[in-house]
Structure formats: structure tokens, C-alpha cells
């Protein structure tokens, strides 16, 4: 029995240490975020005046989503006269502009402009930054919708925290979108995504905000003080991680504080398929690596180093556990021990997710619909470790595929890769059949 324990510890160290790192950091961040919630909850959040805000929306083939996005601006709990909206088309092939004309007719009080820019999201954002008149600039994606208190919350936090230079909103997925999904597998995946986002933003970024260690603002919804963002080198069009690059510029060059606005909610569509997730997460992974490379020459700072160790270096030791499984099976290790160790690990991660859910849930008090939906579907926490394991492999794929010299907005999807493999297997089988036929005919 003692040799079992010895053996388990020998392999387990590759697993127990990352687990402890995840657990300790998870518990600490949960505790810190919860403490902040308790401290802040009684504060009244009234604005004395309403400064001008510019909202920049890069548009690319957005005909289906633009209406929802712009309508969410018109519903803001903030004077429309103080909001300026730029819709900046960067090479749409559909008739997004017609949606703009319709919206302009429907909302004559909304100060909204249609602009054209050269190809690329970064170019569109830069054009908006250059032309903006607002004291604060908010960038949002055209496929999402702002919560009605989003702009007010951002402005309130900026006005009351003069040291904050930039903020990220809380990105959550749209539950109506999940409800429409019929495929049960896809539905669970989308629910997992919602829980993942809630945890990543409300707890993960919440902690980074308090400790001023944020690696990246959400590209889908971020806000800046105009005087700060105009001192940067603007968005970098050469990297897939233009949002991370902007965050790093503010932190590195301007030594600025970057925070989370816990009450600025931005709802995006749920992921459509595992294929989309496969390309999206690989793009994020490559974006992070690219920005770390760009800032590497200027001395890799601690936040980037820690993020890279977490997102890149530790991927390899975790892969060792997969290797270990092969080894354990090869030497006829008791299945009870192998299964038991994995089960314990699974439960530990599920419990961590449960605790993070409780903390995140505190900040959802004004998002009643989402909060209720998440409570009703809290069983999804049981699937989260599995979901994360799948994402882990996608991230690992992102690391390896990032060596491709040409960055692509969309890498090959999983289905495309599997089709390629099937075709190749088919070709080889045909060759095998030909050889076998030839041998048989010679008989």
C-alpha cells in the first residue's frame, strides 16, 4: 500500500502542484472579490453630471446583429444627447449600411455616424479614437448588446476613480440565445460558456482589477479615458491580440490603472459550434503569445510573465499527466487508483467552480434574468471541469499552431481538420485495398 502512495505521489506531484496553484489562487481571488462586494454594496451610485461618451462599433458583415446592438444603446439609462455613436465599416460584404439607415430613421435623437475604414478591426477602432469627441470612449462589438445601466456604470466608476485609465465590461452570453438551441450537447456547451464567462470576468478579472494585474481588456466591451488612449500608439493592426496590445500599452507606457467595471454588462451571442470555439480560442491564444512577443523586447514584465507561465509553460506539465495515464495503463496499475485520482481531481475543480459561481452571483444582483437562469442551470458546474479540459486541448493546439508564420483570423476548424484526416485515411485505405486486391488477384 505504501508503494501505491509513493507511486501516486510521484506522478501526483505533476498534478497536485498545478491543482494547488489553481485552488489557492481561486480561493484567494474569490475571497478578495467577495470582500470588495461587501465593502461596496451600500454605496449609492448617483452621477452629478453626464459627460460626453463616444461609442465606437467596428462593423464587419453585421447586418443581422447591428439592430440589437444599436437598440441597446438607445435604451441606455444615460442621456442620449451625451452619447455619440460611430459605426465604422471595415470592409463588409453584406448590406450592413442599410441597417444603419433604418436605425437612423427609427432613432432620430441618437447622434450616430457611419464611417468607412480600411480592412481590419484595429483600423476601424483607430479611426473612431481619432474622431471621438467624448470624455470617455467605449468600444463594443457589433454582435452584442449593452445592459441598460452599462454606460452609466462606466462613467460613474471613471468619475469616482480618477486613477483608472481604462476599464473592461463584464461579458456574458445571451441566455435567449442558449434557450433557442435544440441540440442538447451544444446547449450544455453554451451553458458552460456562460458560467465560464461569469467566473472569468466577475471573479478572475475582478481580482485582477483590485490588484491592478489585468492582462487584457475584453475586446468586445472596453472603455477608456480619451486623454489616456490618445497618448498610446493606438490599436496595433499587426496582431490578433489588439485588445491585449492596447492593455499592455496603457500598463507599460503610461503606467495606468486598468480595472473591471462590475456593473457594465455586455451580452454577446453564445458560441455557435465547437468549430467556432476551436478557432476563437486558438486566436486568443495566439493573440496573447504575439503581444507577449511584441513587449518581450522591452523587458517582459511580471504580469505578462505570470500569464505566459500560466497559459503556456504550465500547459506542458499538464500534458505530462496524459503521458502518465499511458504509463500507468502500460504497467497494469490498479484501475481503481487511476480512476479514483482523476475523480478526486474532477470533484476538486467542480467545487472550485461552485465557490466561484457563488462569488460571481453576488455581482449579478441587478441581472435578474441571467441570475435566475444560472441558478436554475447550476448543475452545469458538474460539466465545467470537462469543458475546461476540452478548452485546454484547444489552447494547446493554439500554442503549437501559432508557429504558422501567417496569422489567420480563423484557423482551420476541428471539422475541417477531421475531414482532412478522414480523406487521408480514405486514400491510404484505398492504397491498402489496391495492394490487397493485387495480392488476391495474383493468388
Amino acid at each position: 500500500m505504501s508503494s501505491f502512495i509513493e507511486e501516486a505521489l510521484f506522478w501526483g506531484v505533476w498534478l497536485i502542484i498545478p491543482l494547488l496553484v489553481d485552488m489557492i489562487s481561486g480561493i484567494i481571488s474569490g475571497f478578495v472579490v467577495m470582500t470588495k462586494y461587501i465593502k461596496d454594496r451600500k454605496k449609492t451610485k448617483e452621477l452629478e453630471f453626464y459627460p460626453k461618451v463616444t461609442i465606437i462599433i467596428p462593423v464587419y458583415n453585421s447586418i443581422k446583429t447591428l439592430r440589437g446592438c444599436v437598440t441597446s444603446i438607445t435604451k441606455q439609462n444615460y442621456p442620449l444627447s451625451e452619447i455619440q455613436v460611430f459605426l465604422i465599416d471595415n470592409g463588409s460584404k453584406d448590406d450592413s449600411k442599410s441597417a444603419f439607415y433604418e436605425l437612423q430613421m427609427e432613432h432620430p435623437k441618437l447622434r450616430m455616424w457611419w464611417l468607412n475604414s480600411s480592412k481590419g478591426k484595429a483600423n476601424a477602432l483607430n479611426k473612431g479614437l481619432y474622431l471621438s469627441e467624448g470624455k470617455y470612449i467605449v468600444n463594443i462589438d457589433s454582435d452584442g448588446e449593452l445592459d441598460e445601466n452599462a454606460i452609466r456604470s462606466l462613467v460613474y466608476k471613471f468619475e469616482n476613480n480618477k486613477d483608472i485609465c481604462a476599464m473592461t465590461g463584464v461579458i456574458l452570453t445571451n441566455i435567449d440565445d442558449i434557450k433557442k438551441t435544440k441540440n442538447p450537447f451544444k446547449k450544455v456547451m453554451q451553458k458552460c460558456e456562460l458560467f465560464e464567462y461569469a467566473e472569468a470576468f466577475l471573479v478572475g478579472r475582478g481580482f485582477e482589477s483590485i490588484t491592478n494585474t489585468m492582462f487584457t481588456l475584453a475586446g468586445a466591451c472596453s472603455a477608456f479615458r480619451k486623454e489616456v488612449v490618445q497618448k498610446t500608439q493606438l490599436y496595433n493592426g499587426e496582431t490578433l491580440g489588439e485588445d491585449t496590445h492596447m492593455t499592455s500599452q496603457i500598463r507599460e507606457f503610461l503606467n495606468g490603472k486598468i480595472a473591471l467595471c462590475e456593473e457594465c454588462f455586455f451580452y454577446v451571442d453564445s458560441i455557435e459550434s465547437i468549430d467556432k470555439m476551436y478557432t476563437q480560442r486558438q486566436r486568443w491564444q495566439r493573440g496573447g503569445i504575439e503581444v507577449s512577443t511584441l513587449f518581450n523586447n522591452k523587458g517582459l514584465n511580471n504580469i505578462m510573465k505570470i500569464t505566459m507561465i500560466k497559459d503556456h509553460t504550465l500547459v506542458f506539465p499538464r500534458l505530462i499527466w496524459m503521458f502518465a495515464m499511458v504509463y500507468l495503463i502500460l504497467i497494469d496499475y490498479p484501475m481503481k487508483l487511476v480512476v479514483g485520482a482523476n475523480l478526486i481531481l474532477y470533484i476538486a475543480y467542480a467545487l472550485l467552480s461552485l465557490s466561484q459561481y457563488f462569488v460571481g452571483n453576488l455581482y449579478l444582483r441587478n441581472q435578474k434574468k441571467t441570475r435566475k437562469y444560472m441558478l436554475k442551470n447550476s448543475y452545469v458546474i458538474l460539466f465545467l471541469p470537462l469543458y475546461r479540459m476540452i478548452l485546454f486541448f484547444v489552447r494547446a493546439a493554439g500554442i503549437i499552431n501559432a508557429v504558422d508564420p501567417h496569422a489567420k483570423w480563423n484557423t482551420k476548424t476541428l471539422t475541417e481538420e477531421v475531414t482532412i484526416i478522414n480523406k487521408e485515411v480514405g486514400n491510404r485505405m484505398t492504397l491498402l485495398n489496391k495492394i490487397s486486391n493485387w495480392i488476391n488477384s495474383n493468388d
Binding site: E6, L9, F10, V13, W14, I17, G120, G237, E238, T239, L240, I289, E290, S292, T293, L294, N296, L300, M308, I309, H312, T313, L314, F316, P317, L319, I320, M322, F323, V326, Y327, L330, A396, A397, I399, I400, N401, A402, V403, D404, P405, H406, A407, K408, W409, E417, I420, I421, E424, R428
Partner: protein, 196 residues
């Protein structure tokens, strides 16, 4: 190795080769990395673990003998791969097994390096040779750390130093290696721009 084993080894290597050539042709980098490193590790574990373990055991024992001669803090019985530590409150012996030799860590690391897309073949060879030497050194450091703890704190420290502290020291040193070899290398040569 029996003829049956040799046949099995060649068949497995042949199969892995065919799969890897296909994946390379199809430009599926991640699948090539994952299947390649897992495949090489599995084959190495099945067929080469014992001889490699013996070889490394001899090497570690030799190095430990030199350290023992210089420091006089412990004794090494090379024949039985045994380390004898004369602590202040008793004597304890330690067998150099596959954990101390670090053969598994060496195989895992080597199979990852073999298929990680380095910028040049030279870098890969350097990572392979340098990394393996580093892992052997890490093992020596781990052993020296365990011996020192037992020697100065007493044999009661053997379990904690061997089971926990030694492993944590080794783990941290390995993370440093992985950071240098995989992360640093990729960050240094990552191409940025030319978005399609």
C-alpha cells in the same frame, strides 16, 4: 529483447512514422505534436525504459559517489545503487530507483521536445541535449537536498524531504526548464503580422 518484441517495436515505429508523415503532409501541426510525442513516449516506455533506467542509475550513482567522496556526508554503494546516510540520530539507506534516475521525466521532456516546432533543428538538438543534462543535474540537486535535510535534521525528515520537499524542488526546476525551452523560445521567434 526477443524477436517478437523487435517485430512489435518495428511495427509500432512504422505505424507511428506513417501517421506522422501523413500529418506533416496535411500540415496539421498540433495533431503531429500530440500524437508524435505521446507515441514516442509510449514506445520508449515499453521498450527502452529498463536499459535507460539502468544506464542513468549508473551515471547518477557515479556522480553521487564523487559528491560523497568530496563531502564525506554519506556513502554510496554503487553495486546496489544504495546511498547510506549517517544522520545524527541513526543510519538510513536510499535506493536509486527510476524516480531518482529521472528516466520518466527525461523521456517525457525528450518526446515533447522532439515534436515541438522549434525555429531550427539546431535549437531542437540543443534543447534535447541541454535539457537532458539539466534534468540529470536537477535530480542530483534533489538527492543532495534530501540527503542534506536528513543529515542535518535527522532521519525523521526522510519521508517529508523525499516525498514532498524533494519533489517540489524538482517540479520548480522543471517549470524553469519548460519556460526556457518552450515559452521563451516561442516568444523569441513568434512571427507577428501578416494577418490573412
Amino acid at each position: 529483447m526477443t524477436i517478437g518484441n523487435i517485430f512489435m517495436l518495428l511495427s509500432l515505429m512504422g505505424l507511428l512514422y506513417v501517421v506522422l508523415v501523413s500529418l506533416k503532409k496535411l500540415n496539421l501541426n498540433f495533431f503531429k505534436f500530440f500524437i508524435g510525442s505521446l507515441g514516442v513516449f509510449t514506445i520508449a516506455m515499453m521498450f527502452f525504459m529498463d536499459p535507460l533506467n539502468n544506464l542513468l542509475g549508473i551515471l547518477i550513482t557515479k556522480i553521487m559517489s564523487v559528491i560523497a567522496n568530496i563531502s564525506g556526508a554519506f556513502e554510496v554503494y554503487a553495486k546496489n545503487s544504495l546511498l547510506i546516510i549517517d544522520a545524527r540520530d541513526g543510519i538510513i539507506s536510499m535506493l536509486i530507483n527510476y524516480e531518482c534516475s529521472g528516466v520518466i521525466e527525461l523521456l517525457v521532456y525528450s518526446s515533447l521536445v522532439l515534436f515541438f516546432p522549434f525555429v531550427s533543428k539546431g535549437k531542437k538538438v540543443w534543447a534535447l541535449i541541454g535539457g537532458n543534462i539539466y534534468i540529470i543535474l536537477c535530480n542530483i540537486i534533489r538527492l543532495v537536498a534530501i540527503i542534506s535535510m536528513v543529515k542535518w535534521q535527522g532521519i525523521g525528515w526522510y519521508n517529508i524531504s523525499h516525498t514532498i520537499i524533494g519533489r517540489i524542488i524538482f517540479f520548480i526546476m522543471m517549470i524553469f526548464l519548460y519556460y526556457k525551452v518552450f515559452t521563451k523560445n516561442q516568444l523569441k521567434y513568434q512571427r507577428v503580422g501578416e494577418i490573412k
